[in-house]
């Protein structure tokens, strides 16, 4: 088990070191903006903020409310593309 987590840590480190994580993040951000995910999320944020009150809303509130919805709303095509990139990276570097 510890061996497994060590491997995960190594892969994650590689991902960061080689700059691939940053590239993937950028790709994801672009795709999400493109497909309207960001607008949907902003609309959702508005509801949350109105509910909590403009003055009292905190980052934690937003994270708690937004993250599950955000995960659910990511389109399958975007997921697929990202996964393909990740798999390619793993195949290259985990052999």
């Amino acid at each position: 088990m510890s061996k497994d987590s060590r491997m995960r840590a190594t892969i994650n480190q590689k991902l960061t070191e080689m700059g691939e994580r940053e590239r993937l993040k950028e790709l994801l951000r672009a795709k999400l903006t493109e497909c309207g995910w960001k607008d949907q999320m902003k609309a959702h944020c508005k509801e949350v903020i109105k509910e909590k009150g403009l003055e009292h809303v905190t980052v934690e509130d937003l994270v708690v409310e937004i993250t599950p919805k955000g995960r659910a709303l990511v389109p399958d095509s975007v997921k697929k593309e990202l996964l393909q990139r990740i798999r390619a990276f793993l195949a290259q570097h985990a052999t």
Binding site: T10, I11, K25, V57, L83, L90
Partner: protein, 211 residues
């Protein structure tokens, strides 16, 4: 390092798949977190709700979809048939043609009516007729500066005329070469003719002149 390699090769496919899924959800969470920060900052700085408007004011900017009216609800083409009176010649001209007309009428453009004007002026003055006629011819043949197919046709015609001029009688001043070529012929070496893509007949003239 070697140890890592060994341990990583022991990963089987399902574990790799799990790892990929984890990385993806990490990334998505990152994106969410980024959005949260962004929105939170916008809220606290007070610019998050800037683009929110109430239904009332939105109605003012709705797209109008009616025949004969543009998206803003204004009648379009209302200026189409307007006419303007030219301050120079007092004719009334369609608004869309007014600017080009004024340019020519006031004699500002390349193709302005200055030649015609001069003709009218000199037509009254019969004494100068012969001289002005010659000059007019000169300008008519200055088809370097006009546009289109007319130009090409005229040019070819003038090239033919040039070829008919006997070498001995040839004088640069009298032949109908566009002034552009004339000044190059009189003062500049042959490479300029090539550079400005002069017609072959003009290059031939140059050779005759220099021989």
């Amino acid at each position: 390092m070697k140890m890592e390699e060994v341990s990583m090769s022991s990963l089987d496919n399902s574990k790799l798949e799990g790892l990929a899924q984890d990385i993806l959800s990490d990334l998505v969470e990152d994106a969410c977190l980024g959005l949260c920060f962004e929105v939170h900052r916008a809220v606290k700085q007070g610019y998050f709700f800037l683009d929110d408007t109430d239904q009332e004011s939105m109605r003012d900017y709705e797209i109008v979809d009616q025949p004969g009216v543009d998206v803003f609800g204004q009648v379009y083409n209302q200026w189409k048939n307007k006419e303007c009176v030219c301050p120079n010649c007092s004719r009334s001209i369609a608004a869309s043609r007014f600017a080009p007309h004024l340019e020519k009428c006031l004699g500002m453009g390349r193709n302005s009516s200055r030649i015609a004007n001069r003709r009218i002026v000199t037509g009254n003055n019969t004494n100068n007729k012969s001289e002005s006629d010659q000059e007019d011819n000169d300008d008519v043949n200055d088809n370097d500066w006009s546009y289109g197919a007319e130009k090409k046709a005229k040019k070819r015609k003038s090239d033919k005329v040039l070829e008919k001029i006997p070498c001995a009688l040839f004088s640069l001043r009298e032949c109908c070469i566009a002034p552009r070529w004339r000044c190059i012929l009189m003062s500049h070496p042959v490479y300029l003719l090539k550079k400005f893509n002069a017609p072959l007949s003009i290059r031939a003239l140059h050779e005759r002149k220099s021989s």
